[in-house]
Amino acid sequence: MNVRIPILKLRDTLIVSIQWELDDQTAIQFQEDLLTKLHETSARGVVIDLTSIDFIDSFIAKVLGDVISMSSLMGARVVITGIQPAVAITLIELGIRLEDVMTALDLENGLDKLQLELEA
């Protein structure tokens, strides 16, 4: 059951909505797929929406943190959107800080934030 996470392109932004529980393989595959797509499309921004995700463990947090740093190396900005209250609470209690990560309440706010960032 190795499914790949779809990555959509909208103008100069890539949009990803993670809709199901991430296993290790899918998370690693996503990392590669996103960077490849960035390279192919020369997109400058990425929005990763986590609205449907009801928990994040340290492994998924590390993969997310890494993909943000990797995208940044390639010159793209990443915004994480839609983190649920339960996810925010457990991440902090677990001791995980996603520092220097741009976040927004939802996809719409995330796209606005990214646009401002890219125009600046």
Binding site: D54, S58, K62, P85, I89, T90, I96
Partner: protein, 133 residues
């Protein structure tokens, strides 16, 4: 009806199976979404520790009732190398696996009770409980 169930941890997929089992039991017991996330995350971390450090082991989920209060007990047991210095692994930020696993202090914070027994060369047994308030 059995009030316990378990998942053998041998591959990465078993980590997913263990946390799904835990989440289902937590949901059935009536835990809210935040506690469900805490329990699921704790199981994921404990199962990953088994996978990373012991190679294989078992996650057991039990329903508890004590003084009329329901709870869920997670047992993470393995016959791995054991933990040489428990005090050290219970310090925040200590990890031997290059940043994988937020470690046991995180799991302890997510749960209400946390007990660990480990013997070098014999294995580790971790019991973590969350009570339904």
């Amino acid at each position: 009806m059995s009030n316990q169930s378990s998942v053998e941890i041998q591959t990465e997929w078993d980590i997913v199976a263990a946390r799904q089992l835990g989440r289902n039991v937590a949901k059935e017991l009536g835990f809210g979404t935040v506690d469900q996330a805490r329990i699921t995350t704790a199981i994921s971390e404990l199962a990953r520790n088994i996978y990373l450090y012991a190679g294989q082991g078992r996650i057991e989920i039990q329903r508890l009732t004590e003084n009329g209060i329901n709870g869920i007990l997670i047992i993470a047991a393995d016959n791995g190398p054991g933990i040489p210095d428990i005090r050290k692994v219970m310090e925040d930020g200590f990890s031997t696996s290059g940043g994988l696993g937020a470690g046991l202090p995180g799991v302890k914070r997510l749960m209400d009770d946390f007990k660990i027994e480990t013997t070098l060369g014999e294995g580790t047994d971790i019991r973590a409980t969350k009570w339904l308030r």
